[in-house]
Every structure is written in C-alpha cells, then in structure tokens.
Subunit: 157 residues, 2 copies
DNA sequence: TTTTTGGTTCTGAAAAAAAAGAACTAAAAG
DNA sequence: CTTTTAGTTCTTTTTTTTCAGAACCAAAAA
C-alpha cells in the first residue's frame, strides 16, 4: 500500500479536476488519474501508487492508464534496474496534444460540406448559414496554427 | 404517422451525423434529432414528425428535444392558430452557440491556476509547463474573439 | 362539458459503461 | 528451477444511461 500522501485541499482538487474532465468526456477513473498527476508533488508515479492512492482496482487502473497512454495524455519512464514504470502527464508535449484535439475540425468541415451538397436549394437562409459555419471553421483551421506561432514569438521577446 | 420522407442517402447521412455527435458526447437520440434537422429539406419539424421519422418514443423525443433546447442548439417557432411547436436548429445564431462553447476556456484557466498555486515549488519544469498552458489559453481566449471580427471583416469586403 | 391534441412525466426494462476480483503472464530475482 | 513483481486480461457485478410504454395534464376544439 504505497499511497501518495495528499492533504485535504489536494484531495478536493483532484475530485474537482476529475469532474471537470468527466464533463470533457473522460471516464471517471481516467479523469481522476489525470487529476492525481496534476496535483501530486511527485510528478512520476508508479502503477501501484496510482491505484492505491485513488482506491481503484488494478484492472480499472490498468485500463484507464492505457486509455491515457493511447490518447497521448500520459507517458512513462523507466529507471535502470527498476522494473516499474513511472507514469507522468505528457505535459511537456502539450502542444502536440492540443493540436491533436484540433483534428476534429477538418473532419467536421468535410461532414458539413457533404450535408450542404445534399441539401435542396430551398431554404436559402439555412444553406447560407451552413456555408458560413463551414467558412468560419476553415478560417479557424488556418488561423489557429498561426496564433500558435505568434504566441511563441511574443513569448521570446 | 406523419413521417418525413427521406431517401437512402439522407438516411445514411443522418446516421453518420448521429455518430459524429455521439463522439462529441451527445446521447444517441439527441444526436439523431440534430442530424434529421440538418438534413431535412423542411427546416422546421413538428414533435410528431421528429419522433415518427426517427422511430423514437414520445418520451425519448421529448427528453432529447428538451436537452437540445436547454443547450441552445434548437429553438422552436409557433404559427398563429396552430398549437404545434415547429422545432428547428438554432443555426442562425450559431455564433452565439460557438461562443458559449468557448466559455469552458476561462473556467479551465482558473482551475489550472488553482492547481498551479497549490503545487510545491519542486518540479520546476512541470510548473513551468503548466504556466505555459495557462498563458496560451489566456492568449487564445483573447485572440479568438478577434479572429471572429477579422473573419467578418474579410467576408464583407 | 366532453374530447382531442400536443406534448410531459413516471415507472420499469434493456443496454452500455465502469469497476472489482481473480486468474493469468512475462520478466526478473532468488 | 521457484518465487516475486508489475502489470494485463477475463469474468462477473454494479452503476449509469437510454429508451419504451403508459398514465397523465393543460389548452383548445367540438
């Protein structure tokens, strides 16, 4: 039972982070593990520390961790002569994760275009609105990467 | 049984739209109703048309429609001397809906700031990354409305 | 007043998601 | 070899979500 020591405030924050991530569509265990790794002073935690601290079964923890690994929200490191994996948030590559989440935009654009192409020419207004949305999404898709670059420039100077 | 007439292609698209919205976190019935209203040539449909066309029970349709109304994805109009409500996508106000969806950003920023403030000063790198994310989100929150304005300007000229 | 219409609300069942527990496995340690 | 460790996988249980069916309700029509 190698629980991570957490004070009341930290525990409460983990729960709130958990709820926030649940609202973003993550399953409960996944959300809590994310919370724990955001709060823990030790940023690298072992499998055992994670499931004992959060009172999860090994199987629940294993599945949740693998979901997070596949989503590139987690990574793990190993230490020489130590069989354990040390899991940590993939926070140093958050830009990549952020970019991945934007990939839904082009997909949505193509779906909306297909919808638009299938619609009859009645309902001019509806079709015009649809076209506007498509236009704006394409604009966003082009401009957000630029925003990224501008932000980086601003930081350096 | 006042079903809306739909051809194969339209039906198939409604299903694909449904799946897309399910991936975005909407419940199945909610997702399909959204799809129907995106595809139907008549943009305003009655309660009966919706549930008969999609083979939903009245209760399922009622709940789903109310979820959509509360989320401001749907609105309804009425016609004089007609007790029915005619439901339609809130597409003419899509900018408002879009802006609403961005409201999670400031909330996330405040949560991340709280996390940052609670963390010990060990893990310099982790804390620095956290601060970067916060900074970028604040930047986004400031710049996206500007993007909106610039896009509108581009449209008019 | 009675009936019809256009929904809503309240069960309960079915299906899906989440988690627990235990059996299992591969690599390392003894 | 045998045992231990660090997880994984399989099965079962629990919980949650989603939906159907029927009863219900308020306003309008007859």
């Amino acid at each position: 039972m190698k629980k991570v020591v957490l004070n009341k405030k930290q525990q409460e924050l983990i729960e709130r982070i958990g709820i926030f991530f649940e609202h973003q569509g993550l399953p409960p265990a996944v959300a809590r593990i994310s919370g724990l790794l955001l709060i823990s002073d030790r940023v690298e935690l072992t499998f055992e520390e994670i499931y004992t601290t959060l009172n999860l079964s090994k199987s629940a923890a294993s599945n949740a961790i693998n979901i997070l690994l596949k989503a590139h929200r987690l990574e793990y490191i190993t230490k020489p002569g130590d069989r354990k994996r040390y899991f940590k948030l993939f926070i140093d590559h958050w830009e990549t994760v952020f970019n991945d989440r934007l990939k839904f935009l082009p997909f949505m654009v193509s779906l909306l275009k297909e919808i638009h192409s299938v619609r009859s020419s009645k309902n001019k207004e509806f079709n015009a609105n649809l076209k506007e949305i498509i236009g704006f999404m394409e604009y966003l898709n082009k401009e957000i990467p630029k925003l990224f670059i501008k932000w980086k420039e601003k930081k350096t100077k």
